[in-house]
Symmetry: C2
Subunit: 215 residues, 2 copies
Amino acid sequence: MIDRNPLPDGEGAEAIDERIRAQLTFIAEADKLKTVLRASPLAAADRRENDAEHSWHLALMVLLLAEYADEPVDVGHAMKLVIVHDLIEIYAGDSPVFDPDAVRDQVAREQAAADRLFTLLPADQAGWVRGLWDEFEAGATPEARFAKAMDRLEPMLLNWLNEGGTWGMPGATESKIRAREAGVVSASTRLGAVTDVLVAEGLRRGWIRPDPTDD
Amino acid sequence: MIDRNPLPDGEGAEAIDERIRAQLTFIAEADKLKTVLRASPLAAADRRENDAEHSWHLALMVLLLAEYADEPVDVGHAMKLVIVHDLIEIYAGDSPVFDPDAVRDQVAREQAAADRLFTLLPADQAGWVRGLWDEFEAGATPEARFAKAMDRLEPMLLNWLNEGGTWGMPGATESKIRAREAGVVSASTRLGAVTDVLVAEGLRRGWIRPDPTDD
């Protein structure tokens, strides 16, 4: 796509210098995030969600739900984290959490994708944008923890609105769903309590499978 | 959709109090933004863009291009503006700028949609989220001017990458396209110069129609 229709160059195109050309090329490449499908179904239509829609929804949730973070968060900074958090999936693809094959080499794939993607930007910008992605991944700041909590909560809401959604995937059982929920609980007591209700009620309604027993 | 599968209530659901129920209901309603199609074609796939994808792309552009704003901008605040700027289209629909029928009653439709949508939120939050939308619409702050510039620049880039895109719509001629471009020029001399190149080259390649002459 980058090479399909490059930005004008040559005479008259001096306004597009090397720096701005790199930035606009990255922005054009980022359009591909709109084609990376997640496992989650939408609530509003009968199709799967893509990464760009998902990232927008997380930014909206950060804005509206930050009051429930257990630690103070800089809302603008947390929004930056969610806007960039899935970009590397343009090259690495989505890795559905309940699919063991997808998550096996996920870290290595995503690091390689980050090396390839962010270096399209001018070096100074590549550095701090990569830094935002690293911060999200590490989850070591209040903003990253809250951003990750939204990344867990949003598909839980979509699953609820779809009477199960990805909770019905072969690899999904109560303990795996509760392990995802832990990412909400650890950043927000209040929102964690909400996810407890959703999981308990999901089990009661048969939308979530209990773990298999040994006997 | 809101009523399709409401959040649990009754015994055991006390964690979902009235405030958080209103917020999550709004967040579920917001999923519909993913189904509001714009006129613009994607660069990465052969389909039109939706409002949620578009809003995400603007947030990324704010983050990467804020250095070119003619006035200093608070990047986090400008990102908040673009995340909420199209929400009212859930009820008001998209109004393609080159379609005279669509833009005729646009302001009245969008104000009515805002009255209906933002009041789903708790009153305090409805107030300041509506305030973000009003700020974007008014374009009277540096952040709103830059956010609007991104809202003009993004479809110009998509048009460029599609060898014309909505520039080929019946109502689109050079002067109307330059009127859109003015929103970029007024917030960023540097990015305005880039759009000048795109429009000049679009004319040269026949992707933009010159204005009709009187003779």
